[in-house]
């Protein structure tokens, strides 16, 4: 096995463990809550990085796919099967073994659809929707694609906000925990903070490994070739329309999974998760991360989401991410954290140092 390739992955795992130990030792485990949330947002960002940075297709609608995951599991798992026992559908769900029991915040046992089932349903819906809208809109390029995905995002947001079943402006709360297996639960229970942090970290590591493998493969090359010249890629036998669609669906799946897990972790979901501003935030983070840079996107995704969730940006949150996007597009349209930019930065730093040295020598 190629050890060098996985060195950054081991560093990532190491960093997660160190964070956890430090927060536990300092009795500051509540920091892990925002880190866990950031990690789930990073799943969206990583998928979007492959779509935008490598395949060169923008999406301003990924919050919609996140919301599809979150709302699907919220609607399904908060359906009280015990109360609806008379209904044939509810009885069928129970008889098919698709339900599970948990105790809610008030200590009352409730029977509901298993989150594993709702995860599968959410994935099916997301894949279907991503295919259906992807086929027509991925024919568009540049600004037109941005507009179309934005339109899609707005539609989903309005649906979420205007539907009784999705709780309108209040969203849906009181979700049961998602029992993965054995003693592992995705839930906001403070007693389970550490394991939830590790569950999220595990998913991020898995996502990075899978996507890095994809990028380093024949398929990854084909995606990058689409970014380089769609016409030439086609002439080389790359089915560009198909690959664009597949990577769009893949990134939607990442967003959906993040939505399902984070919604169980938070115990609820609200319309702000489907807001277009969320999509802008994701795009902004991919851009500062260097566009075609999984590790940069991950680092920026953890840092910026964490700061935002801890409230460091206060009421300027939207301003910050909108501003980041504008600055990047003006000055670094190919993304910020790039080798070239780093090089010119170090060069600039060296020049500065030399200048200061010269001054010093002149003065003395």
């Amino acid at each position: 096995m190629n050890m060098k390739k996985y060195t950054p992955v081991f560093c990532l795992i190491g960093a997660a463990v160190i964070f956890q130990i430090i927060t536990s030792v300092l009795n500051r485990e509540f920091y892990l809550t925002q880190l866990t949330m950031s990690a789930y947002y990073c799943l969206v960002i990583l998928g979007l990085t492959v779509l935008m940075g490598y395949a060169g297709q923008i999406s301003l609608g990924h919050a919609a796919f996140f919301a599809m995951g979150g709302y699907t599991t919220a609607v399904l798992t908060t359906w009280n099967l015990a109360a609806a026992q008379e209904g044939t559908l509810a009885r069928l769900v129970v008889q098919l073994g698709l339900s599970t029991a948990s105790t809610n915040a008030y200590g009352v046992e409730i029977r509901h659809i298993s989150p594993w089932v709702s995860l599968l349903v959410a994935l099916a819906i997301t894949v279907a929707v991503a295919f259906l809208i992807g086929i027509p809109i991925l024919k568009l390029k540049g600004h037109y694609l941005a507009m179309a995905t934005l339109g899609f995002g707005i539609i989903v947001y309005r649906i979420v906000l205007g539907s009784r079943i999705f709780g309108e402006a209040d969203g849906i709360s009181d979700l049961p925990p998602f029992r993965l297996f054995g003693p592992l639960y995705v839930s906001g229970d403070p007693a389970l903070r550490v394991q939830n942090f590790y569950i999220a970290a595990f998913l991020v590591v898995l996502a990075v490994v899978l996507l890095q493998n994809l990028i380093d493969s024949r398929m990854g090359r084909a995606l990058r070739s689409i970014h380089g010249s769609e016409e030439a890629a086609n002439a080389m036998g790359v089915n560009t329309a198909r690959y664009k669609l597949h990577v769009f669906v893949l990134s939607a799946v990442f967003a959906c999974i993040a939505g399902v897990f984070l919604t169980h972790f938070n115990g609820g979901v609200g319309p702000s998760e489907a807001d277009v501003m969320k999509s802008v935030t994701y795009v902004a983070i991919v851009a500062v991360g260097g566009m075609a840079n999984l590790w940069g996107a991950l680092a920026m995704g953890m840092a910026l989401n964490y700061l935002s969730l801890r409230g460091y940006f206060g009421s300027y949150d939207e301003f910050v991410f909108g501003g980041i996007l504008i600055v990047i597009m003006l000055f670094f349209p190919d993304g910020l954290l790039k080798k070239e930019n780093m090089r010119s930065l170090t060069e600039a730093a060296i020049r500065m140092k030399n200048k200061i040295w010269k001054r010093k020598n002149e003065l003395s």
Binding site: L211, L214, N234, M236
Partner: protein
Amino acid sequence: MKQLSRSFGGLRAVDDVSFNVEKNSITAVIGPNGAGKTTLFNLISGALAPDSGEAYIDGRPIHRLPPYRIARHGISRTFQNIKLFPHMTVLENVMIGRHIRSRSGFLSAMLRLPGSRAEEQQIQERSMEILALMGIEGIAGQEAGSLPFGKQRIVEFARALATEPSLLLLDEPAAGLNMYETAQVSELITKIRGRGVTVLVIEHDMSLVMNISDMIVVLSSGKKIAEGLPSDIQKNREVIRVYLGEDNA
């Protein structure tokens, strides 16, 4: 090629052009600027759909297929205004050429299954061989977009060759090259013909054309005005008129 036509608005860029290309031959397409040569290539490679007419390779129709399917039928091309993948290395550009000769998909790539790893190894080795054949293995790791123009043409040539085409379309492969590089390209074209590739080449450099081609097709204003051996074309009145007319205008 049978009666291929394509118009842009009222302009008949390629007008009822028919010709045959012999297997393992070098055929040159010549004609003044705007004659429709590049458009003809776009029709054959599927970049543009013909308004009417048919195209066949080894008896199989290709005129209704999208470009990526045509590529899988063994037709590869270069572009008059070079279209490399600028942010990928020279080696990676050529490795894209191996795309249709390999098959691992999204899932096996993400999981790095043994099959896809072995295939990746093969793609890389084969691509290095092609770079060596073209004499550019020394720049394998350089970013394609940062290379000088002449080198970019060779890389594009290598990328097209990596698909193992049975028919290779070269659109002005020597344009913008110096004499030394032109001679190199000329040598490469004859070399790959020796490996069983059929070549269709658009070129303005007459000495290059006369030297390497077995047959010449002459286009003017979208129409085929002559076809024949280099020696015949040199003597053809119509061709001389079109070319001299251009020069004198």
